[in-house]
Subunit: 387 residues, 2 copies
């Protein structure tokens, strides 16, 4: 029994969803070719532009985030195209797998997991290989909590024939990533991470430069064919049957984001992540990520602590779900997401649960020392913002 | 903006309701005279007996808790009947108002708000006035957080011609109150406090002694006539249209209570309230209630602290809803409920919000000192129970 069976989801996808958004998805199903649905679609398209900070159209698929990553590859590139792939974690690896699957010619910048790529490293490859067609990168590498210098790399790419393709699945809506202003050519996101929705939707937007490349793309595509979606948008509809309930949720969430305002939303996650990092330091633990993202906090587990048992206990007995590490990081890190419907008080829950877990599994700490530091930072911000 | 608009309800009614219970109430409405509804009714009746710890039938009304209080008066007593009324708060006053409204002859035991009645005080009245017909009491006086000695008073009443009528609206399901074992003649509850459901239902059960009195009752009654309900139960139905959706929720909640078990449920609230009181002491504040109930913690506000502003700030800016005092206690106490779907982590939220409020409104304390103490107690219990 988990007390009264409450669940607290701190995993970096899926994330907790606001009750009002969940409720909006319980509406009766409507038909997607009716005029009333076109109206919903128009509102969604408009508000997606606000989220992406772009004047371009944002397209979506009923798919996981990986679907939009695949759509970027198959719509823009052709077999044999040289692409720079930043591999510093699980999702960098995914770019590499996709590149190989569709016959591109990937040039890997391999960086140790936990480190951020340096813009110079990308520049060096361009100098050596001027005919590169694209740079595939994560805004936030979810497996390591690292924030890559997307803005700086975009400036390098701008001077070349290549496009920058940004997987922003765990970034867009959590921190500043303005597509048009920074000249990002392709921006991708999914529903279940930074966007705070249930899994099942993916999104993609294209710059003119990317659109030009797309017109020459020779890769076969059907479901993920963006030209089909473009034609459908012209008729205020979608190419295939959209995930109606999820779009009800998307509509509600985008409206909410617009009401709060991106600036305030970014500030919220900034304070959450700052308070978490400071609390973790107060517990004498180290942050794993060289350049930590606001989307999640990744903690280096001290030698000898049984992370798997700790995570299992928190999950099964207390209903607190943190994520561990993937591949060679298994057992070595703990990941606590800030993405999703997370209030300041939720963070205090996460810290206190961490305090309990550490104490139980051989890393004795004084209760409350992490919570105290988090309270100080959170409440200091509240004082300034709300009084 | 309350961050991401989360609401935390710590009021002593209504209380927060478990998501699975809320969901169960979203089922399509069924007709209450269908055989399938009789089956639901049977299950509810059976599980209500478990909750009340009685072999008697438990009846219910679509009404607030006050409805069941009124039904006790009009079903058992007759005009001019002498009743002892324990008045030590808002709900004791309600018994008095009901007695007067229906022409009973109340003998008031007036006790200062915050104090519990002493069994001797009741005994003294019986010695002076042997023809008393009933004792009207609260198990927990919600307005002061006081737990009255119901068991001891029931032992006194047992030796007389009178019945003990217990308003257990903020007690039944939170702490031990076994109807048959303690010889409680009438037990009343509502849906929106200790039972952790939305408002709208009230409940009442009768001992044989109360039933005998009821047969002689001369007060007029129609909607609250328990003889009508008794006849309807014999046909597996209810006298009037029941609140179908609320009964779906009741069915789910009773099932949940049975699965958890009363013993474990009582222990949960015991630890929650203990941790809260200790945290409050660590913050150098006093508990207002002489004999504190497990249902809520009532804090004496220090001189000079603007309680109304503090509660307003927490409510409007942080989404944390505590209750203040009623009548002459307005501004003098803060009430934090433990009833409802409250996890141990919810209590940490309440304490940290209290820490913030105190700091902001002129009672400086070190952040985290209350939370630390609560964590120690809660996690100590978890270690014993869940490892």
């Amino acid at each position: 029994m988990k007390f009264l069976n409450k669940k607290y989801l701190f995993t970096p996808g899926p994330v907790s969803v606001a009750p009002e958004v969940l409720l909006s998805m319980a509406q009766p199903i409507t038909h997607h070719r009716l005029p009333e649905f076109s109206e919903i679609l128009k509102e969604i398209r408009e508000n997606l532009k606000y989220l992406f900070q772009t004047q371009k159209e944002v397209y979506f698929f009923a798919s996981s985030g990986t679907g939009a990553m695949e759509s970027a590859i198959v719509n823009i590139f052709s077999p044999g195209d040289k692409v720079i792939v930043i591999v510093g974690g699980k999702f960098g690896q995914r770019w590499l797998e996709l590149s190989k699957t569709f016959g591109l010619d990937p040039i890997v910048i391999d960086i140790p997991w936990g480190r951020a790529v340096k813009p110079e490293e990308v520049e060096k490859v361009f100098k050596k290989t001027p005919d590169v067609k694209g740079v595939l990168i994560q805004a936030c590498e979810t497996s390591t909590g690292v924030k890559h210098p997307v803005k700086e790399i975009a400036e390098i790419v701008k001077e070349t024939e290549a496009v920058i393709v940004v997987d922003a699945i765990s970034a867009l809506g959590v921190y500043e990533l303005p597509m048009d202003k920074w000249g990002l050519d392709v921006v991708i996101t999914g529903s279940q991470k930074a966007l705070s929705l249930p899994p099942g939707l993916s999104f993609i937007a294209f710059s003119d430069k990317a659109q030009t490349l797309a017109e020459k793309s020779k890769l076969p595509k059907y479901y993920f064919n963006l030209q089909k979606e473009k034609k459908a948008y012209a008729k205020d509809t979608t190419a295939f049957t959209p995930a109606v309930s999820l779009l009800f949720g998307l509509r509600k969430m985008l409206k909410r984001i617009k009401e709060i305002g991106l600036e305030k939303l970014f500030k919220h996650y900034q304070i959450l992540s700052l308070a978490c990092r400071k609390a973790v330091s107060a517990l004498n633990l180290e942050i794993f990520s060289e350049v930590p993202s606001e989307s999640l906090t990744v903690i280096k587990v001290p030698e000898g602590l049984n992370t798997n048992e700790l995570l299992k206990f928190l999950r099964n007995k207390l209903g607190i779900v943190f994520a561990g590490g993937q591949e060679h990081l298994k057992g070595k890190i703990i990941r606590i997401a800030h993405m999703g419907d997370q209030s300041f008080f939720d963070l205090l829950i996460a810290i206190s649960a961490l305090e309990m877990g550490l104490n139980l599994f051989g890393y004795p700490i004084t209760y409350g020392i992490g919570v105290k530091v988090a309270e100080e930072i959170l409440f200091d911000y509240i004082k300034k913002e709300y009084l």
